[in-house]
Amino acid sequence: MGLICPSSRPQTPAVVARCHRLIAEMGFKPVVGKHVLSSYGFTAGTDEQRLADLHGFVEDDSIAAIFCLSGGYGALRLLPHLDFAAIERSRKLFVGGDDASCLLNAINAASGLVCLQALNLEQIKTKQTYDRLKTAVTSTNVWAPLVAAQSGEELLSGKHDFYCCVEGIAEGKLVGGNLTAFITLMGTPYQPDMNGKIIFLEDLGEQNGILDRWFTTLYLSGDLQYAAAVVFGSFKDCGPKNSDTMLSVMDLFGDRLQYLGKISCFGLPFGQQDDSYPVPIGVNARLTAAEGRLEFLEPALVLKN
């Protein structure tokens, strides 16, 4: 497994050491990119250094998959320099989240390769997320569906507040991830086709009003109208921040989803929480909005032939 930092640097070398250990515990052989602890401005080394790590692993036949260690910002800067043809030929699995959403969606759009939107390795801090990531990167079966918490202890914990915005059942390939990072692809050559797809979105630590800006971009572009459905995960540490009057993202996104009659629901267990599930970009899925149920219709991975 190749470990890279396409965006910002992990806070300490201990983070890298811990992630190395996690991958080894899973039974894989971790290889850490040369530049993951480099620093240049707000990124883990210069664009050239981060690209060298990424391309090095793409071209290395002993590497089966490429994991992102941390998020932050910087993946977008790499896109015009990526060798998408080499990535497509390599058929390697890319795993990451947060800022890496723009990288994963650009790779999926350019090559058709399924990429795993997941926690970045440094965010794996619970047995749940560890097990879920391990299963996700090894299972060649169809994954179990993601279901919003609606009963028992999960309901009482209040961790996932499920809300069905527009009822209905829709099928399509999955596209999306972190809203902030995903929207930076808009109007660029790396913008994915959302026509007939299920868009899944989450975010971390952002103000509701700013999230509404990025959702408005999707609405104004027309892409929302032609998507099959929209499903939302967690918006951890998001909120009105310093505004007391600001409504929730359910209200702010919901008004236009209802206007369009777009099948949609909030509160599925993906995103950046300590119990989030990975989501495979490019896999066919079925959303039953009223039940908060996202079923995967095909495996995300195949056995190497």
């Binding site: 910002s8 109007g187 790396y190 971009t217 027309g222």
Partner: protein, 334 residues
Amino acid sequence: MLKTKETTPAKIVKPRALRKGDTVGIIAPSSTLFQEGELEFTYQWLQKLGLKWKLGKHLFERYSEYAGSDEARAEDLMNIWCDPEVDGVLPLRGGNGAPRLLPLIDFELLAKSPKMFVGYSDLTALLTTIHQRTGLVCFYGPMATSFYKTSYSHRYWTKAIMSNRPIGVITDPLPAQIWKPAYPPPRMVIAEGHGRGRLIGGCLTLIKQLQGTPFEADMDGKIVFLEDVHEEPHQIDRMLTQLLLGSNLKKAAGILVGECAGCTPGESNRRRLSLNHSVEAVVRERLSNLGIPVVYGLRLGHGEDQFTLPLGVMATLEARGTAVKFKIEESAAH
């Protein structure tokens, strides 16, 4: 919904300059005031200019951080703009919400009565779109609760909207009587050169927000001005990078990056990254190699001092050594 991209307006329509006795229509297409009394200052300052006012019906409504529902705000915009008694349209303030109105606006109807329209920040969405759809020269500058914030802002504001003469060469605010002036210096040369073109631009967040939509700004061959407030340097990098990847910013004739108040690392209330470049480093790194003049620091946008820029009007930007000349050469109103 349309998927076609808007282009430069084929013809430029100049509004009539406001004069004593005119009426301005005050609306809130974005956010509203928390204290309605702030408008008392606005009335006093409008009176000094000999202007009368008329208020939108939904001015103080609220929906989330917006001044009422999208429908209510759009209705006020259309009604005030099309009111024959109203000579100019003056938003209360920015905030958020103007982009949500774009699908609800009848641009053909607005085009039938070209009017003085001035605003900044979130209003960028309306200014650039109305300009591109109708050809109307719209003004990026202070609005109802900000045109009287400093003498510099006020002077350029009245010069822009109450005169039919060219705004001319832009000068900086007089150095204040303080020992440690605020960063950034007003005219840092990021890239030398000479550029001439029509003006387009506004708040970077908004220009970015509309990229990839039918309301995207066309910057080809133009003098582009960009500014923002309370953003971390990495957010500025993210937005500029998206523009460089997708828009025609690269084909601009010149770029002015404004003061960007409150954008020093760690100063915003946004998510921070541990190792930060400054905005200056970002601007140098992203914009210095485009082969066009780029200047950073001019007092346009969210700072205390703010000059007013007319969209669609010819301007020149010269940057040589440490010398910068920015001139709005054509008249913006008749």
